[in-house]
């Protein structure tokens, strides 16, 4: 069965490029433009991995990660944060929110897909 990834970013370009990378890696991908939309999709559908930006309107990626962790059935679902913020304190905030991996933008296709494979086992 194809594994399902939710890509969350307020930039259409980033959403589309991350989607391209992950689809090229063999994953099925859905998109959301912010944390609120992402939570709605997560409550409706099942996803094996969430790849999210941090700075977004309505609900940022850190809050989204915390909400995912608190959602029934999603406590152990891997979350990859992809952000322009590259300092140690930013990464620390991401891990404290519950993210598994922190990738600094611009993400390379190989990094994103390799991390997805490591987290999902395929």
């Amino acid at each position: 069965m194809t594994l399902r990834v939710l890509v969350v970013d307020d930039s259409a370009l980033v959403r589309d490029l991350h989607t391209f990378m992950l689809k090229s890696g063999g994953y099925e991908v859905r998109q959301a433009t912010n944390g609120v939309e992402a939570i709605e999709l997560i409550l409706r559908d099942r996803f094996d991995l969430v790849v999210t930006d941090i700075n977004m309107p309505k609900m940022d990626g850190l809050e989204l990660t915390r909400r995912i962790r608190a959602t029934e059935g999603y406590a152990d679902t891997p979350v990859i944060l992809v952000s322009t913020e590259s300092e140690a304190k930013d990464k620390d905030a991401g891990f404290r929110a519950g993210a598994n991996v922190y990738v600094v933008k611009p993400a390379k296709a190989a990094d994103l897909v390799l991390n997805a494979r490591l987290l999902l086992g395929k």
Binding site: L13, M21, N55, E63, E85
Partner: protein, 264 residues
């Protein structure tokens, strides 16, 4: 009796969330620039409602003082505070341009990104010029944001600058491809057709999407040539672009010939 500025400012520190929120709202109606620094503090208030009231109040007060008061919040570790500052700057509008411009030379990359976000949403005619200065930035994320903003403006005056920026980073090249598609025109289309031979698959995919956005029937053959590309996602992206061109053509010229776009 109408409460004084001092009373309202004092209420901003009240432990009761509703009192802080009402005080922020009243300060907005009072429109006294003396209150902006106090209201800016509330962008990091633990209550979302208080923070939103402060944002609305600062936008109501407006002007350069309101814009300047939130600039330090762009450097905050808290994304909610940063987003609130951006919201104020966008709400303040053209009066935010000079204060933002004053900090750009010494700003961190993150602040530049927020500045681009704000500038691109402001009304006015000089946005392309303001945004183009970021195309030579050393950080690809800053360049990418400026490229995206220029594409959204759709100003053909930015086409040459975008084309000259190609080649520094494949991520930036993807953004340029999409923006050229939004701007359109012969120079953009010729460049996009050239990018269909790029060594990075993501750039080829973005160029195909850009050509789809242009909606020009003359590039259908170039897109159909991607049917033999080794990456099936590129193939389907090219087919989607052809479908988009056909849809745009049909909308403009109902009698035009339709290409299959079938790459299966």
């Amino acid at each position: 009796m109408t409460p004084s500025l001092q009373d309202l400012v004092a209420d901003l520190d009240n432990l009761d969330e509703s009192i802080r929120r009402y005080a922020a709202e009243d300060l907005g109606f009072l429109k006294d620039p003396m209150s902006v620094e106090h209201l800016a503090r509330l962008l990091r208030d633990p209550s979302v409602a208080v923070c939103e009231a402060a944002v609305d109040a600062l936008v109501l007060i407006g002007g350069e003082p309101a814009a300047r008061s939130v600039l330090p919040a762009l450097e905050s570790d808290d994304p909610r505070e940063r987003n609130a500052a951006c919201e104020v700057l966008r709400g303040v509008g053209v009066d935010a341009v000079d204060p933002i411009g004053e900090i750009l030379d010494t700003a961190s990359d993150d602040v530049k990104l927020f500045a681009i976000d704000v500038i691109s949403a402001l009304p006015g005619t000089n946005r392309s010029l303001e945004l183009s200065r970021f195309l030579s930035d050393t950080n690809p994320n800053v360049v990418t944001s400026a490229v995206i903003a220029l594409g959204q403006l759709g100003d053909s005056g930015a086409t040459s600058a975008l084309i000259q920026t190609l080649g520094s980073n494949s991520w930036v090249d993807c953004a340029i491809a999409r923006s050229l598609g939004q701007i359109g025109g012969t120079e953009a289309i010729v460049t996009l057709c050239g990018l269909l031979n790029h060594s990075e698959e993501a750039v080829v995919y973005a160029a195909a999407q850009g050509l789809g956005e242009c909606g020009d029937l003359r590039v259908v053959a170039d897109l159909e040539a991607l049917a033999v590309h080794s990456n099936p996602i590129v193939v389907s992206g090219a087919a989607e672009a052809v479908a988009l061109i056909n849809a745009k053509t049909l909308a403009d010229h109902p009698d035009a010939p339709i290409f299959s776009g079938d790459h299966s």
